[in-house]
């Protein structure tokens, strides 16, 4: 463990005792020490956002040739742990960092991020240029907008058209109603042996999001009430149980090896997820199934978001860089060329609505058999309602998953499952 960082040789007059204190001072006091003109802007991100930011370097250099853009890249999970640590200790903070949609709630509930409505930021001016639900996702219960959306994940139903054809089914059979979707699953199973979907839980994940009334959360209402013991949840659980009892789900979780193997072997006929999944299927999950997939809206007019990325500015970052960080964030999120480049190269569906008129949306997608599916996703993006976040959303998700597991695996009856979930959430809501 070197006591002194090599980049900062102490002056000869520095005494040993001071030298020992120096690294600590450097680590803790970077904003205080950086009094000169800003030379670098640090952005922390995860794949593939890091590549998107790097791709924007030429455009940034054209505006600010004297300010270097430094991208710190970590794996997505490591990135969010690192940002939590940096925010809690208020040290080693980047000037701008990417946040995945799942973590936006957690980061926005504290006071570690700048409210972008204030000067010098002014996100209200960007409001008409950003897709409404994503901006709503970035708004915390206090009404502060603490991050700016750059890409979104409109929910879609991807299905295997070849398996449907073998079961003599068409797209409307799948998406008109949930009951029709399950009935189609029975016929697919009978005709091809393939499962309708990967996990019965997937149905629950969509329905609980689709049933949110504006202003409420998925699990908690606006007045901190618990809203899981409702007819809507009961219907959701019943549909999932019907799927399981009919043997229509492969019982595999997303991103497991069985999941991708199921796609490769044609053992899973449909998957509901963010539009970006088509890109993953094409690139690595199941490239061999090219041309056999199609995209549709989710069944029964459900609209939900899966994932998405936001940029946030830490409140404790160097004050001198804040305006620049905001300029960069604005550029990354609203610049038509950059947003479309990220869409083309990394399947990052744009949050900037100005891009939606681009001819790229109408282009056929070879992986989806030439379907111009981006128009489907564009429509979904404009119809999604964002649920309000709650501090205990992650815990609530775990509770609901557990109770659903008990219903599916152990035959627990649905009213008592939802009753137990409600009790557990009530205990947590107060924490």
């Amino acid at each position: 463990m070197p006591l002194l960082p090599a980049a900062h040789p102490p002056s000869p007059s520095l005494r040993r005792r001071d030298a020992l204190l120096l690294p600590g001072a450097l680590a803790l006091g970077s904003p205080a020490l950086a009094t000169g003109p800003v030379r670098t802007l640090t952005v922390a991100a995860f794949p593939a956002i890091d590549q998107i930011v790097r791709g924007a370097i030429p455009a940034w250099q054209a505006r600010h040739p004297q300010i270097e853009l430094k991208v710190v890249s970590r794996r997505a999970s490591d990135h969010h742990v690192a940002m939590t640590t940096a925010l809690s200790s208020q040290s080693n903070l980047p000037d701008l960092f990417a946040v995945e949609a799942d973590y936006v709630g957690r980061f926005s509930l504290g006071s570690g991020l700048e409210d972008l409505r204030r000067a010098p930021f002014g996100i209200e001016a960007l409001r008409p240029r950003l897709v409404p639900f994503a901006l709503a996702q970035a708004t915390n219960p206090r009404g502060e907008i603490v991050s700016v959306p750059t890409d979104i994940g409109p929910g879609t139903l991807l299905y295997r058209t070849d398996l449907l054809a073998r079961a003599k089914l068409t797209e409307p059979d799948l998406v008109t109603t949930w009951d029709g979707y399950i009935e189609a699953g029975r016929r697919i199973k009978a005709a091809t042996g393939a499962y309708l979907l990967a996990h019965a839980r997937d149905i629950k994940d969509i329905l609980i999001r689709a049933g949110v009334t504006p202003g409420d959360g998925i699990y908690f209402g606006r007045d901190n009430s618990v809203r899981v013991n409702t007819p809507h949840y009961a219907r959701t659980f019943e549909l999932a149980r019907t799927v399981r009892r009919a043997g229509l789900d492969a019982k595999v979780g997303s991103w497991s090896s069985d999941w991708s193997e199921g796609f490769r072997r044609g053992g899973i006929a449909t998957q509901m997820m963010g539009a970006w999944l088509a890109g993953h299927l094409n690139n690595w999950l199941a490239p061999g199934t090219r041309g056999q997939w199609r995209a549709a809206q989710l069944p029964e007019g459900a609209y939900a978001a899966y994932g998405g990325t936001f940029y946030a500015i830490p409140r404790a970052s160097n004050p001198a860089t804040k305006a620049l960080a905001w300029e960069l964030a604005t550029m990354l999120t609203t610049d038509r060329t950059l947003q479309l480049a990220a869409f083309r190269q990394h399947d990052a569906f744009p949050a900037a609505v100005e891009t939606y008129t681009d001819p790229f949306f109408e282009q056929p997608i070879p992986f989806l058999g030439g379907q111009p599916a981006r128009t489907v996703w564009r429509e979904a993006a404009q119809r999604i309602t964002a649920p309000t976040m709650h501090k205990q959303d992650r815990f609530a998700e775990e509770v609901i998953n557990t109770e659903l597991d008990k219903v599916l695996l152990r035959g627990k009856d649905i009213p008592s499952a939802l009753g137990d979930a409600e009790r557990l959430l009530k205990q947590r809501a107060k924490r």
Binding site: S257, E398, T402, Q427
Partner: protein, 362 residues
Amino acid sequence: MDLDGTAATPMRTPTPLRSGHAAQPTADAPGAANAASAASAASAASAASAALPARGRRLRVSARSAPYVLLLPFITLFLVFGLFPLLFSLVLAFQSWEPTSGLGAMHYVGLANFAFALTDEWFWKSMFNTLWLAVAGGVPQHLVAIPLACFIHAGFQRARNLVLGAYFVPYITSTVAVAIVFTLLYSTDYGLVNAVIGAMAKWPVVGALLPQQAIDWLNDPDTLKPAIAVLVFWRFVGFNIVLYLAGLQAIPKDLYEAATIDGAGPLQQFLHITLPGLRPMILFGVTLSVVGGLQLFEEPFILTPDGRGGSDQAGMTAAVYLYRMAFDFNDFGAASAMSWLLFVAVGAITWAIHRWIGRGLR
């Protein structure tokens, strides 16, 4: 171990580190931390004795302070990565803290976190899971390791180290590699375990005892715990064999010779010489298993999707739960309180085991 390599002190010390004291072998204790502290202690002792006034002048380190200077690297690391987090979690256990708001956002809540932990159903559920896995993963380790160590001790001559190495490999294998391999082995539709069970289920007699459908090892709460226990057993049984082999070598051979002359059979020798002779090692091994078992984290974490602890939290041990409390559910205060409750439980159970096995050992 070469002491010149380990003496990474910030001061230049021309003291004769190669003196008689320091050249002693520093015990091949497992764990780098033990070896490092043993080495620092040994080098400190030699430096203290060597730094006589006449030669120590150039050092500007008095004989009195030399041990502390030499211990400095260890103490620094211990303070930063050992003591500080410990004290910080003790402070946190009495606070409510929204971590992303910075350190200033902490406020004192007294014993509320402990009260919450003790009334939290999931905390008790995770404690039960922990105990279940500690027993199911820990007890077989010793029941297998002791006879196996005796067998290796008696049965292998030349190939002994090779066999021992084979059993020890899981202990030093990277967790990530283990995770990938075991997830594949346990895979429901494409895994080797189910393939073997499926093939055996077609056999006449054995088949009737085996399930005819593929077992969903990692998603079914009833099979997840055994799956984790098997992994724990596999990882640590080799370590225990090494322990017991070392213990066996310390039992004097003449005891067995005397017993043979007296007409004692192999089983009697095992029960009346080997087992009592191994008792100190059993105490040591069981203590390590208890401490490790109650803090079980890696195995359930890597085997369950996203480290969530599995369906119905069947694999959520106390350590996984308090990790999730902090880093997933964002409740650092309650997580710290739970970690201290877990510490108390580990201490109490270890004490009880010492009373039970260690009776009269001194």
